[in-house]
């Protein structure tokens, strides 16, 4: 198999994988019955999914868990959460967080 063919097949593989994950349940639709407790637990799924993505992205560095001031990413996240809680502004949270990130990184000479 040439490299060109391999790459295209791999791209189709990722496409198929994404389709299976995103659409199978939608296509099965109402035929899928879940226990009521699972249905109500799913209400917390969005928040829990986001929390997992956010926490591992902000706290984990290539050297492992870093909750000190030398890791500006979680400080930026904290600032973004505070800004959003105070002003309900998404744009403010994003740019405020980025500003805090740059500030701390400059401070620690990173």
């Amino acid at each position: 198999m040439s490299q060109e063919t391999y790459v295209w097949l791999a791209i189709l593989g990722v496409t198929l994988a994404t389709f299976l994950a995103r659409s199978t349940v939608l296509l099965v639709g109402e035929r899928l019955r879940l226990p009521p407790v699972v249905e109500s637990a799913l209400r917390y799924a969005p928040a829990c999914a986001l929390a997992g993505i956010i926490a591992s992205d902000l706290l984990m560095t290539p050297a492992g868990l870093n909750l000190t001031l030398s890791n500006p990413r979680w400080l930026a996240g904290l600032a973004a959460a505070a800004i959003f809680a105070a002003f309900r502004s998404t744009i403010g949270a994003i740019f405020g967080g980025i500003a805090v990130f740059w500030l701390f990184r400059a401070w620690f000479g990173g």
């Binding site: 659409s23 939608l26 926490a55």
Partner: protein, 233 residues
């Protein structure tokens, strides 16, 4: 309300997340170009798969000529959170035509999914919810693809030390804060985050999935306990 108005509202409510979605699309585009994919292959991948984290997970495997089944399986597992999303969405979309469901499935992304479930909580009787979802998801798709194409074409000009990916994560924070509206939700968020960090060394982002399962279980247990406590009083 007309579907068109709801579609526009969906688009409008996604717009504040533009910096985050854009930065992520850009990072993914740059990563594809820098991993040795040609421009045509990168464009093919972003338009066919449209799955940032799965694309990023597949790239190093593809660079190493890993078996195709492994690339595909990795992408399935990285995408498992979409299965959870689809479980939430399926009740609302079940009655739609096959074609529409396929399109909406393709367009489902993290940001619009959470916006949509927030709408369901705040306005449970909102009539044109599918049009609302479609509007926001389309808007997300456009922003992402524009950014991704720029990233593919301008990969050499975008230095990694800008920390662009951070903007995407900060956008998610703006999404999660309003969801922490009671003790059960807040506890679920903290538990899920902690589990994801502790299980970070698990392969294929399985720690994330574990976090969702443990976080949701914890939240629902707290909710039930609070409910029985109230009836006892």
């Amino acid at each position: 309300m007309t579907p068109r108005a709801a579609f526009r509202r969906g688009m409008r409510e996604l717009l504040p997340f533009t910096p985050g979605v854009f930065a992520w699309g850009l990072v993914t585009g740059v990563a594809m170009a820098k991993s040795g994919l040609t421009v045509a292959q990168s464009l093919g991948m972003t338009f066919l798969a449209y799955a940032g984290s799965a694309q990023l997970a597949a790239l190093p495997l593809m660079a190493a000529f890993a078996p195709l089944w492994l690339v595909t399986l990795t992408a399935v597992i990285v995408n498992l959170r979409f299965v959870v999303y689809a479980m939430v969405l399926r009740r609302h979309l079940a009655q739609l035509s096959l074609n529409t469901r396929l399109w909406l499935g393709y367009l489902t992304g993290d940001v619009m999914f959470v916006r949509y479930s927030t709408l369901l909580e705040q306005e449970p009787d909102y009539p044109q919810r599918v049009a609302y979802f479609a509007g926001g998801a389309t808007c997300n798709w456009i922003i992402w693809q524009v950014a991704s194409v720029i990233g593919i074409l301008a990969a050499g000009a975008i230095p990694a030390q800008w920390g662009l990916g951070l903007a995407g994560t900060l956008a998610l924070i703006a999404l999660v804060v309003p969801l922490c509206r009671d003790r059960a939700a807040l506890a679920g968020v903290l538990v899920s985050g902690a589990v994801a960090v502790l299980a970070h060394d698990l392969p294929l982002r399985l720690g994330l999935l574990l976090g969702i399962v443990v976080g949701c279980s914890f939240a629902i247990a707290l909710e039930r306990r609070a409910a029985t406590g109230e009836t006892a009083r």
